[in-house]
């Protein structure tokens, strides 16, 4: 009865690796990453762009992957939480900072914070306490009360500076 949906081949460079899948035009980027590419680190908390759990970096900029269609970012470079690690499989600076500061509890919102903070620190390598809080003010966390996430932002900045100084 209903027409079969038209499909499109979408290719993204995800965490440095070209990845393709054939999907309908309405496939959300979040679902594309999670279910077509099976990169489930990106989480979906609201599907209306408010919670920030699905945040990924598209060409270096943080965006809500639940508010984008995969086809609209065809060809883009995408960084997910799986791509925020350090060299040789170690935790990246933001990930390490979250561990050091107990910046996560259930871990569901965490990927969106990690990507958001990664992008933020690229442009603001030495935030103040208030700036760190402002930087994460677009992401919801129901577990931590944010205090340790603010500390994680500051700690990540330190770790990045140490890394750069090496």
């Amino acid at each position: 009865m209903s027409a079969v949906e038209e499909l499109f081949e979408v290719t993204l460079v995800v965490n440095g690796v070209p990845r393709s899948a054939t999907v309908p035009a309405r496939r959300l980027l979040s679902d594309f990453l999670r279910h077509d590419l099976e990169l489930t680190g990106t989480h979906v908390g609201c599907e209306h762009g408010v919670c920030g759990a699905c945040t990924v970096l598209v060409d270096g900029r943080p965006i809500r992957s639940c508010l984008q269609f995969a086809v609209t970012v065809d060809g883009a470079e995408v960084t997910t939480v799986e791509g925020c690690g350090g060299a040789d499989g170690e935790l990246g600076p933001v990930q390490q900072a979250f561990r050091d500061c107990h910046g996560l509890q259930c871990g569901f919102c965490t990927p969106g914070f990690v990507t958001t903070i990664t992008a933020y620190l690229e442009e603001h390598p030495a935030p103040s306490d208030d700036e760190a809080r402002e930087a994460i003010a677009g992401n919801l966390c129901r577990c931590t009360g944010y205090q340790n996430i603010v500390a994680s932002v500051l700690r990540a900045a330190e770790l990045r500076a140490e890394e750069a100084g090496r």
Partner: protein, 801 residues
């Protein structure tokens, strides 16, 4: 290196997985599963007169459409009433798919299974349901009036009425020198974990077994419920809680309609089926909490000592009572906090409304009870012109009165007896932390600058660690690593770390050698669940008991191998040795790994290490069989912990707020917490629990409310409209601890999970009242609420400070 980590704020063992995207939450499982979606009622109260699926048939990718009529056998029965109680005279539960009638917006009516979720939702949109509208009952007043009924056969909408009392409260109040009455109002909020519910089921027809993953707080009980509903032998059903993205109470309810339906459909279709709740579904299809009206009547002497307290609570239980009347029972018992109330009487009415059902949300009735008691304490202080901390101090149960018996029955069906606690010391610490005595000088300073500030205080006692029991299993592998399991589940509490710390401490192994599994019926089948701040108390002590047995066995076997008295041996860093001897002493030590090999007599060697356990591998004691009577092979054992009654943690919060004289904006300037949850396993995790609880308390006090219109539509069922706090709304929490070990369990632990949220509304109401000079009796409070209260209270002739 040292193995000593118990009590230390070590980093969590689960973090690396979660931080790198390697967590496995429900929707991360089953990429090839069919997807389920639901047609849910858009009406609060209606009869279903017809369901038309004509337009849905033939949609490409549609697999199945189910309505109540399709639910065969016990799957079609009403969902279970989990906690029956004699006072719950009119308990009601819904069906997995609605039968004839719907009682709240969001109630599932039709289940659609399709090749993917997009298609399943397309199909839902093509299904028509005809309704005959019934008048909805919305709000506690409407329910209490009883003119309109939610369930035809429940008179007055009263699911339960319950009275608990000690002494003659009415007489004590009538005879008291001072009497006050308060009317209080707390609105609805909800757990709102960032991950909603979700279920994945796989039926193995060849093996006749069912594996279900569900985002739950009670996997063993889900298994029992599913085995019963689906009429399967329990040992053919496995239920696993994968990584769970927050629970806060809502996921203790089970089985949800979807938890029955997804496995039911998987069996029927012979295919994997998955359902992942979306955010709107969670708002209208899960559960809420908190909504209560309260009337307090209190009698007290000139010193502010309570002589009698009489509390009536009207509790909104929503459309159904799947979790019984636990929430109002907790409200009316935990209301007492750290105080002696004199004669006490508490009565509650649990009332049906045509709204989402009400089940525990972190705090589980305690925030409302704390609000009632603490508002009362402030009212007494104001009436007598006394300092608010002085009135509280005068009513405290003293440390030398512990254990203190309130003469009531608690939510676990056992006496409400506080095990321990030092409330005066807690108050002293809090006053010092917040600078209680210095506040008036600060207020004067602020006032001179045109600012309006206030300070508030609230105290609570939390019954934690409720029974009936939990168990633990500990095994030393032949490589010296340790695996452990407990049946209760984890939703972010860091159990893998805290329980590893417990096991490592008892067993003398490095903590990173201990791998803990929770919430997986394949690994441990006996459990109750994670709620009521009970996990550390219950499973912590159970795992400690199991680890102690394993340790004893290890020392026994090592003693034989070393020809030493087990009493002279210790385990340090995974090596059994003579107490105090250096690890390098020849013949004086044996690795736990080797003991594990020796513990399991083998016929077949599979590597060099295993050779030692074979029949010709070493000296043999011919006087007894290889596995002695009463022994079992393997270096493993199981332990259980069942408490005589609950433990009671306590704490006190103080907050300093500023209210804008023009806009009535409310800003929290400082938030201080002193808490006592007994022995700390990992202070960093406990502190994190407090921070998170406070954030939810602040949300409940200032931002979060479920806004229903008269038709029973939830107007703010999205994160755009339901104001969960962001980082910019949550204050920095300043904390201080007391550690009064519980005498009830070997580790001295009390629970910490809910503590942070309990006094949130009470302490902020206290602080805002102090800033404004009139009593705040209704929470949450928004700037516009406060703004209109100012005009009302001015009309009443009171002058804001």
């Amino acid at each position: 290196m040292t193995t000593k980590t118990f009590g230390e704020p070590i980093a969590r063992l689960e973090d690396p997985r979660l931080l790198t995207g390697q967590g496995r939450f429900l929707d991360d499982i089953g990429h090839r599963a069919l997807a389920a979606a639901f047609v849910r009622s858009p009406h609060a109260h209606a009869r279903i007169t017809g369901i038309d699926v004509t337009d849905a048939i033939g949609v490409d990718g549609l697999v199945a459409v189910y309505t109540h009529e399709d639910l065969d056998g016990r799957a079609g029965e009403p969902l279970p009433l989990l906690i029956p109680h004699e006072a719950l005279t009119h308990g009601r539960t819904g069906y997995a798919l609605a039968k004839d009638e719907v009682n709240h917006v969001g109630e599932p009516i039709v289940m659609v299974v399709a090749t993917d979720r997009y298609v399943a939702e397309d199909v839902c949109a093509r299904i028509g349901v005809d309704y005959e509208f019934l008048p909805p009952v919305v709000g506690i007043e409407a329910a209490r009036d009883g003119d309109l009924l939610v369930h035809d056969d429940v008179p007055g909408n009263v699911a339960a009425r319950m009275v608990q009392s000690r002494g003659d409260a009415a007489a004590a109040i009538d005879a008291a020198p001072h009497v006050l009455e308060l009317d209080l109002d707390i609105e609805r909020s909800a757990s709102t974990p960032l991950e909603g519910k979700g279920v994945h089921a796989r039926w193995d027809a060849d093996d006749a077994s069912l594996r279900v993953y569900t985002s739950t707080q009670a996997s063993t009980s889900v298994r029992a419920a599913l085995a019963a509903r689906l009429e399967l032998p329990p040992d053919r059903v496995e239920v696993i809680a994968p990584d769970v993205g927050g629970g806060f109470g809502v996921k203790i309810v089970h089985p949800w309609p979807e938890e029955v339906l997804v496995p039911w459909a998987a069996i029927r279709l012979g295919r994997e089926v998955k359902w992942t709740e979306d955010r709107r579904e969670h708002f209208v299809g899960a559960t809420h909490e908190r909504g209560q009206l309260q009337h307090v009547r209190v009698g007290f002497d000139d010193e502010g000592r309570l002589l009698g307290l009489d509390v009536t609570v009207w509790h909104d239980n929503g459309a159904y009572t799947p979790y019984g009347i636990i929430v109002p029972i907790i409200t009316t018992t935990q209301l007492l906090g750290p105080y002696k109330p004199g004669a006490y009487r508490a009565e509650f009415f649990s009332l049906y409304t045509n709204t989402v059902s009400v089940t525990p949300y972190r705090g589980a009735g305690r925030p409302q009870g704390c609000f009632a008691m603490e508002r009362t304490m402030d009212a007494v202080a104001a009436h007598l012109g006394l300092d608010r901390t002085v009135v509280r101090e005068r009513n405290f149960i003293r440390p030398d009165e512990m254990p203190y018996d309130h003469g009531l029955i608690f939510q676990d069906g056992r006496p409400l007896v506080y095990d321990s606690g030092d409330y005066p010391a807690t108050l002293e610490k809090l006053k010092k932390l917040v600078g209680w005595e210095e506040f008036e000088a600060y207020r004067d300073e602020a006032r001179a600058a045109g600012r309006r500030v206030g300070i508030g205080i609230a105290c609570y006692v939390e019954g934690t660690g409720v029974g009936p029991y939990e168990g633990g299993w500990v095994k030393v592998e032949t490589d010296g690593s340790v695996v452990a399991a407990t049946g209760l589940t984890t939703q972010g509490q860091g159990h893998r770390t805290a329980f590893a710390q417990v096991v490592a401490e008892e067993l003398g192994v490095p903590v990173d050698r201990v791998n803990v599994t929770t919430g997986d019926t394949r690994r441990f089948g006996y459990a109750v669940g994670t709620f009521a701040s009970r996990a550390a108390v219950m499973s912590g002590n159970a795992l400690a008991a199991a680890a102690r047995k394993v340790r004893d066995k290890a020392l026994r076997i090592a003693g034989e191998a070393l020809e030493a008295d087990p009493r002279d041996l210790e385990i340090v860093d995974g090596v059994v040795r003579v107490i105090g001897s250096p690890a390098s002493a020849p013949g004086g030590s044996i690795p736990l790994a080797t003991v594990a090999v020796l513990a399991n007599p083998l016929r077949y060697a599979f590597d060099r290490e295993a050779e030692r356990a074979t029949q010709f591998g070493g000296p043999v004691d011919f006087s007894k069989p290889p596995v002695a009577e009463g022994e079992s092979p393997g270096l493993e054992d199981t332990g259980f912990y069942s408490p005589p009654r609950s433990t009671f943690a306590n704490g006190m919060h103080a907050a300093i707020v500023e209210t804008d004289p023009d806009t009535a904006e409310i800003t929290i300037l400082r938030y201080c917490v002193v808490h006592d949850c007994g022995t700390l396993i990992n202070p960093r995790i406990v502190e994190g629990q407090i921070h998170g609880g406070v954030a939810q308390g602040v949300g409940g006090a200032l931002y979060e409310r479920m806004v229903y219109d008269d038709a029973g539509q939830l107007l703010n069922a999205s994160f755009m409209d339901f104001l969960m706090p962001y980082a910019t709304e949550v204050p920095v929490v300043e904390t201080d601890h007391l550690e009064t070990p519980s005498p009830l369990n070997p580790l001295g632990i009390k629970g910490a999970g809910e503590a942070g949220v309990i006094p949130g509304s009470a302490v902020l109401a206290s602080a805002i009242s102090d800033a404004e000079g009139f009593a705040i009796t209704r929470m949450p409070i928004s700037p516009s609420d406060l703004y209109s209260l100012r005009s009302t209270s001015t009309r009443m002739g009171e002058t804001p400070r």
